[in-house]
Amino acid sequence: MSMHDSAIMLRRNFKHTIRNPISVFNAILFPVILMLMFVYVLGDAFSVGEHYVDYATPGMILLAICYGLSATAVGANSDMTKGIINRFKVMDVSRGAVLTGQVIASMVNNVIAVAAIVGTAYALGFRPSAGLLDWLGVAGLVLLLGFAIGWFTVALGLFAKSPETAGLGVVPLIMLPFFSSAIVPADKMGAGVKQFAEYQPFTPIIETFRGLLAGAPHTGDVIAALAWCAGIAIVGYLWATATFTKRA
């Protein structure tokens, strides 16, 4: 029942993505440009104790995921503000299906952007020591994070008053990786920012990516990353469904 509706909705969201190639292009191109900038232009200025591209890639994976979110938020908001959601609501369509379609489409965008970043990293000399299992771990965490943050972003999009505010709403999510261990290690940052960077959700997630790519993930980071993802997913899911039900 719900699967049938979800599949139809997903197909609809894919069509939206294909019809709106600029946003996809933007979501892929921007992280790649940032990566080139950090690795080529700034990389040598940071002493991170290893080849900079090896240090930066895990953070760039996260950044690639976050960059795609504005399209997700704007899409969810357009559905809500342009009335099509009300049409689905009075149609006896599985209510979860509309949102599931948006979340899965968002995850697909994430996977494409991450693939582009990893490809770029290899071209820049990235040579991780990860084995097959580690790579599967990376893929799993990309999907899990995409799922969690996808629900959160859909909620944000549904909640926002207009597509413009929805687009602005994800800016903190896009900025957050910069205040984590993505670009430079947290212990090199100033007081205050350092503590923030150490305890914010993206740091353990990046450290898990880093550990997996190095072939030796830290159990503590993995647990923290999984816990954050689960927490974000639950909050996002509850917020999204509540907003969806309430706003007519």
Binding site: I8, N86, R87, K89, M91
Partner: protein
């Protein structure tokens, strides 16, 4: 005795401390067009939202297609179709894809899609993105999407607001065809002539209450008929005309005279003959048919915009 399609009794709805619907009772028989007539802010859209299960009611009972909206919302949704005030089409899909989406979601074959495109005169634009459609085309596509699941009861919230006169006529004939097929239609409108042209029964909604209900003919009997307005060059002409035409209301400020008349050529000729007898010339003559404001004035003692004016 016909079946009842919609039965509303004692319906109440408030947002915070603002009462939007204050005890609505109405009955719509199957296979008829029922029109909810009222100005902006009267509660028309809220009524439609409650009746179509989008918003919960705060009190009263509503049965749509024999199902209680609070207890069996899914059953209600399976028999209704809704076209809201703003065209709810997917702008990133073509007209054809929008209809296919509906067919897939309703789990009915896509065979009806070409027929609907044809019926709504959209075949030529079927492969274009609906974001490129004009307002009238969007409304048509929206209504076509509503019809995909062959609903028995259709709600149309201001289906012609913002449409040009030609598109409006097209929409009217489409709505009439629907009822000919046995569908029940509840439509909201701000236009008396629309209710008059389409509806079997009309209910007038004012500040969340129904102030009148009946057939268009019954309602029109309660409101002042059409009148003729004559404008004169000077006060002397105006006074002379006011003396000659009994029952006319002069307005010194605009130098005009309001005369009751049904607007027929016969009554106009009689009026002009009377003016000629007294050798009075009018600068201008215009015929006015009753509009929503007249209905409101007659039924509520205030005109449709006065509450807002007072609030300002």
């Amino acid at each position: 005795m016909r079946d009842t399609a919609i039965e509303v009794s004692g319906l109440r709805k408030a947002y915070g401390d603002k009462t939007v619907l204050d005890g609505i009772d109405l009955t719509v028989e199957a296979g008829t067009i029922f029109s909810l007539l009222g100005p902006n802010g009267a509660g028309k859209t809220t009524a439609v939202n409650v009746l179509t299960t989008l918003t919960g009611a705060d009190g009263g009972t509503v049965r749509v297609g024999g199902h209680d909206i609070a207890r069996e919302p899914k059953a209600v949704r399976s028999v209704i179709g809704v076209t809201g005030q703003f065209a709810a089409v997917d702008e990133l899909l073509t007209g054809e894809e929008n209809l296919r989406l509906m067919a897939d979601l309703h789990r009915v074959g896509r065979r009806s899609v070409p027929e609907l495109l044809e019926r709504f005169d959209l075949t030529g634009s079927a492969k274009k993105l609906s974001s490129t459609y004009s307002g009238g085309m969007r409304r048509k596509l929206d209504l076509a999407m509503t019809l995909v699941g062959t609903p028995r009861i259709i709600f149309l919230d201001e289906p012609t607001t913002g449409l040009d006169p030609r598109s409006r006529r097209t929409m009217w004939s489409i709505i009439r065809e629907l009822v000919a097929d046995g569908v029940t239609v509840l439509l909201t409108t701000q236009y008396l002539d629309e209710a008059d042209h389409l509806a079997d029964r009309v209910a007038v909604l004012d500040q969340g209450r129904l102030v009148a209900q009946g057939t268009p003919a019954e309602l029109k009997r309660q409101i002042p008929g059409a009148h003729v307005r004559l404008r004169f060059a000077g006060v002397s002409d105006l006074d002379a005309a006011a003396r000659a035409l009994t029952g006319a209301t002069p307005d010194q400020e605009s130098l005009s005279l309001k005369v009751a008349s049904d607007g027929s050529t016969k009554s106009l000729r009689a009026l002009l003959d009377r003016l000629a007898e007294h050798e009075i010339d009018a600068e201008e003559l215009s015929v006015h048919t009753p509009d929503l404001d007249d209905v409101f004035l007659a039924l509520t003692g205030h005109n449709s915009a006065s509450t807002e004016a007072v609030a300002k």
